[in-house]
């Protein structure tokens, strides 16, 4: 039972990070019908750039939380600029091209960013300096650290804010209208290019925050970290129904839980034949199952359009 609660906690933390990244995929897909495969790299650059700032300030005497906050405040605008640039360079020129073309530039962009990060930050793992208080609390036999609580609360607040933005503001309404029919949205006076840029800016800001959360939670960052993380968040977005915003949140949380519970029990279930390092298998197993049995995802397409 203690394993169960513990893995639920771990799964929710991991899942809320997946959800933040998955939102970036789903927002862009909703508007452009394009999978931005370079999105995982934005997460990675968010993590590494924040970590660079955090390491610089670690000995400055500022409180740990303030140092991390400054790291986030540097990483967010940097990633927003990066996301904006990716769209301008790799996708906008190919707006009218066959769908395969931007997919290829997305993969190319991902490789370029990974290599640039390797040149800039090196091949080594960067560890997160121990500046955050290592306190926490017991829940029965399970344990949740204050950092995990902070991640959960911050992720929940960001997602609530995003829902408000999308459902209650003029920009959000224009984003939804553009996602449904860009030509008609244009007739209403919506500048489609501006909406697309806004979508990349928002997704990249979420990616930056998620990057810092990952590196703080696992105390590590690396130039290749964006690849698997990006694929898993993409899986989460597909699980929830790609293009569907609440779906990405649900998909992220579910995927985190599935992975965490799977890793916690896979040893027992296979009599010790497979260990928790098979954790990554679950995400892709889920991806295959969803694609085979419910390609529209859990929350995809709920409104039937009448004539």
């Amino acid at each position: 039972m203690d394993t169960f609660i513990q893995q639920i906690i771990n799964g929710l933390v991991l899942g809320s990070i997946y959800a933040l990244v998955a939102l970036g995929y789903t927002l862009v897909y909703g508007i452009l019908g394009l999978i931005n495969f370079a999105h995982g790299e934005v997460v990675m650059i968010g993590a590494l750039s924040a970590l660079t700032v955090i390491k610089l300030l670690a000995g400055s005497g500022l409180p740990g939380i303030a140092v991390v906050a400054i790291g986030v405040l540097v990483a967010v605008p940097l990633c927003m600029a990066l996301g904006y640039g990716i769209e301008r360079v790799a996708y906008r020129p190919l707006r009218q091209a066959p769908r395969l073309a931007p997919l290829i530039t997305a993969i190319g962009m991902s490789i370029v960013l990974q290599q640039l990060a390797m040149i800039f930050w090196g091949r080594n793992y960067h560890s997160f300096p121990p500046i955050l208080p290592e306190t926490g609390r017991e829940i029965g036999d399970a344990y949740i650290s204050d950092l995990q609580i902070a991640i959960l609360l911050l992720a929940a607040a960001i997602m609530a804010g995003l829902m408000l933005l999308i459902n209650r503001t003029r920009l959000g309404r224009a984003m939804r209208a553009t996602a449904e029919n860009p030509q008609i949205a244009g007739l209403m006076g919506v500048n489609i290019n501006a909406i697309i840029s806004a979508t990349f800016l928002i997704g990249s800001a979420l990616a930056a925050v998620a990057g810092v959360m990952v590196s703080a939670n696992y105390s590590i960052a690396h130039y290749q970290m964006g690849f698997i993380l990006g694929l898993k968040a993409f899986t989460a977005a597909v699980l929830g129904g790609i293009g569907n915003v609440p779906g990405a949140m649900l998909g992220g949380l579910l995927l985190g839980l599935i992975e965490s519970l799977g890793a916690g029990y896979i040893g027992d279930l296979t009599g010790g034949f497979l260990g928790s390092h098979y954790q990554d298998v679950f995400a892709f197993f889920v991806l295959i199952l969803v694609l085979v049995f419910r390609p529209s995802g859990l929350m995809g397409e709920k409104v039937a359009e009448r004539a």
């Binding site: 939804r176 030509q183 244009g186 007739l187 209403m188 006076g189 919506v190 489609i192 009448r306």
Partner: protein, 258 residues
């Protein structure tokens, strides 16, 4: 745009007479050509719409009517001249038109199915910042189309075809247009709904909004419009007062089924 929705002084027949009868038309199209990948769909047509007037463009399926409207709304590349309020529209992007008072109600309605009725209407006022004016226009549109008020919270995709057409009209009116381009508003609607939609169009015209109406249902279009153009294979073959066209033997035979 003071002569839009609230103005009640325009003539009830849709021909607004603001006094200056000889001024330039609101919309002036000359030698408009549109082609799809080398195939000419619109072959050098010219037409005019004066401020306050309702003009219809009739013709069979495939004559190039919708293509013409799409070119006017800058959704398709075109050659020739499109002058609106004395300015060329050819270099304008589609999203710049509505702010200039030009709104298109597209063929097939084009409501945002996953947005609520109220949100669809709000999208019509996307370019406006005058909160009070928007609220007043919303009230006016709710009075004109009470169904939209009853269904404000409902997703537009769940409305019937006729209600969606009303919503598309209401949404365009929320931009407080000076010139309204209507593409086949009767398409796919039950006869009773068609009557209601055209009643609303008549009232909008009576309020002083200039309308260019594209319609396959020639009898209906000519019964509400002041003037008409007949389009055939990408060219305008006849033009004149609606009453004259209704009486024209060629029109009667080809488009009125007589």
């Amino acid at each position: 745009m003071p002569e839009a929705l609230q103005s009640e002084e325009a003539g009830a027949d849709g021909r607004g007479d603001g006094g200056a009868a000889a001024r330039r038309p609101l919309l002036e199209v000359r030698d408009l050509q549109v082609s799809y990948g080398g195939i000419a769909a619109v072959r050098g047509i010219s037409l005019e719409v004066a401020a306050g007037e309702m003009v219809c463009l009739i013709g069979a399926n495939g004559a190039g009517k919708t293509t013409t409207l799409k070119a006017l709304a800058r959704l398709l590349p075109a050659r020739g001249a499109i002058d609106y309020r004395g300015e060329s529209l050819l270099q304008r992007a589609p999203h710049e038109l509505i702010g200039a008072g030009l709104a298109l109600v597209p063929e097939g309605r084009g409501v945002f199915a996953r947005l609520s009725v109220a949100e669809n209407l709000a999208m019509g006022a996307y370019c406006r910042r005058d909160r009070d004016g928007i609220a007043a226009d919303l009230e006016h549109i709710h009075a004109l189309l009470p169904r939209l008020k009853e269904r404000a919270g409902q997703l537009a995709g769940t409305l019937s075809g006729g209600e969606q057409q009303m919503l598309a009209l209401g949404r365009a009116l929320m931009s407080r247009p000076q010139l309204l381009l209507l593409d086949e508003p009767s398409m796919g609607l039950a006869p009773i709904m068609v009557q209601r939609v055209f009643e609303v169009i008549r009232r909008v015209a009576a309020e002083g909004v200039t309308i260019l109406l594209v319609e396959q249902n020639a009898r209906l279009a000519l019964s509400v419009a002041a003037r008409g153009y007949v389009m055939e294979s990408g060219a305008i073959t006849l033009a004149g007062e609606a009453a004259a066209l209704l009486a024209d033997p060629k029109v009667r035979e080809a488009y009125l089924g007589e």
